[in-house]
Subunit: 345 residues, 2 copies
DNA sequence: ATGAAAGCGCTAACAC
DNA sequence: GTGTTAGCGCTTTCAT
């Protein structure tokens, strides 16, 4: 059980120097002799002392912490493979620089706004990440107005309005998926969109459409859903009810795709014999559904790390390191196969 | 864009009072006239002022923040429905008292230990949650030695060594599952355990075993796995390779159960006709696999809220509110059915 | 190279 | 009731 809190004064006394000398050593600043430095470090180690983040935050006017606000409906919260991985990546970038992550999980827009306000007003964090960007999103401006540094995570090509962006190439994955289906002979390729309004939803739809056009395929039917299982099932029934149902469906995420397989199976439609299905995310369950899901995998952890490094650099007004983000992967499993209905391409 | 940071002094000046008056008002302490209070609140609102968490933390020697360390192997990270829901629940309990959550995601034990040390040494948080408790876990003692307040989240009956515990009744869910299978006529009911060493893994196994004994059923075969899909599949093959394979398998979580269905299907064994499968967690995908998964659902969000309220009370040395935790639910779907092999009970 | 001292913005004794 | 003032533990300028 620790006695009274040991402070910089104790360390200074033990090392026979002034408090500023100790401070200098712990901030990698010149002006302390090698001998003194040695004694100081020894004293600190003996006493088990480490600068108090509280006191430091006050005197430096920086908390050495950044914030992340997660807005998610309960249903989607534990579904989304994004946040856990993103946070794990963020952590890697943050601990390397001794930063902490302050998290808020909020249910709606009002609470979300309040969370950013609190971050700024209470000076709890120096900067924040912004994810789940929507089309015409006003939050970047609002956050900047609060005086917080900001790094936006958005798909490539999204309108960022001058903000610092870590972009992920959603389009590349979709293009590979469409090419894969095309090479299997499909030419009626539908798309089930995620929740409308998100730049991700849009980016994926656009890539689907453009790739079909490039390949000279007809722009297949598209249904708007909401990233949930129920929504994916509903959309699938809608597509299969069409007079001319698609032979392949590309879904905005894995959850909808898996629900889609289930919906098709219920109708007696076999996957992949009668219908090919492609997801997006590669959730851990994807290899274990029946049939195993063909899907797009992105390296979310690496975005997290890149975003964290960039935000820290921004906060410290330093040059952000240029990070090389690994490319998307396309994972072919059992849910896609050749068409039977039509001649191969 | 905000000008210079507004401080308590500005508010005091504008309201024509002293700083302490302002401080008193913002800490709900008596000793300020109604009139003064009104002027102070008005002034604060005009200036958009709010006490700085930084300064407050220093002078109160409390940060008004609590910490959560998540240790997870990459593979399991986005698989586990627990943490997102738990965090959402924690948030509810925390924001109500204006506390923040500081999060660390770590890959291994060494880093985990370092995270708690940093929490304490840097005085970043006032208390922490401890999850994923292992049998004979030394962390409660270590954390207490660091001077951090602690709330442990563990299944009922786990040895807590005097710590404050929010307990969830894993056993109740398992008992209902076994009774359900028994009522369907199964009497060879196997169990696939999660990763060894965790109190959850143990609690679930024990409940399975005790319930079988109560029902006069033979203690079926049990295989230790690791909560992963691959592990679940492997365990399933092992059980089905037995000279006398079980007619039902109870898995330690949904991911293993779903992988188990997949493994069985691959061998031409139909679920639920030839084999009944029960999971644990009720992940969002559970209703959408084929066949839909029968499983145990716990209200993780409510534990999070209870844990947060308890930790805040602990930190503030107040009486913890007694929280009523909702009971487990058992969700019957399509992956369980009557035995064909043997006579019904 | 080293030390003294003035903040950082708030809380809480204490005196008025 | 209300104002004054001394911390909280560190950083950082400025003499020495």
């Amino acid at each position: 059980m620790p006695r009274k809190r040991v402070t910089i004064g104790d360390v200074a006394a033990r090392a026979g120097v002034s408090k500023s000398a100790v401070s200098f050593v712990f901030n990698d600043r010149p002006g302390v002799s090698a001998a003194a430095k040695e004694r100081i470090l020894a004293a600190a180690a003996d006493l088990g002392w480490q600068p108090s983040a509280r006191a430091r935050a006050l005197s430096r006017s920086r908390t050495q912490a950044v914030g992340l606000v997660i807005r998610r409906e309960p249903e989607l919260l534990s579904t989304d493979p994004f946040f856990p991985q993103f946070m794990a990546g963020v952590e890697i970038g943050l601990t390397a620089r001794d930063y902490s992550l302050v998290l808020h999980v909020v249910p709606d827009e009002k609470t979300e706004r309040a969370a950013y306000e609190r971050f700024a007003r209470e000076s709890r964090v120096d900067g924040v990440f912004l994810t789940d960007v929507r089309v015409g999103d006003s939050r970047p401006r609002e956050i900047a107005a609060l005086g917080l540094d900001l790094v936006v995570i958005a798909p490539e090509g999204a309108d960022a309005g001058g903000d610092v962006v870590i972009s992920m190439d959603d389009g590349a994955g979709v293009r590979r998926a469409v090419h894969h289906l095309h090479s299997l002979g499909h030419h009626r390729i539908a798309h089930v969109m995620g929740a409308p309004g998100y730049v991700h939803t849009e980016a994926r739809r656009r890539a689907w459409q453009e790739t079909l056009a490039e390949l000279g395929l007809p722009i297949g039917p598209v249904v708007t859903a909401d990233f949930t299982g129920a929504g994916g099932a509903r959309a699938t029934h809608e597509l299969l009810d069409l007079p001319q149902p698609p032979s392949a469906i590309l879904y905005g995420n894995d959850l909808m795709a898996i629900a889609g397989i289930s919906a098709a199976t219920d109708r007696g439609i076999r996957v992949p014999e009668d219908l090919s299905v492609v997801g997006f995310d590669d959730v851990p369950l994807a290899p274990y559904v029946v049939p195993p899901l063909t899907t797009v995998r992105q390296n979310v952890v690496s975005w997290g790390t890149a975003a964290a490094q960039t935000l820290v650099a921004l906060v410290e007004r330093k040059q952000a390191p240029t990070v090389q983000l690994p490319p998307v992967e396309f994972v072919v499993r059992g849910s896609t196969g050749p068409t039977r209905n039509r001649r191969p391409a």
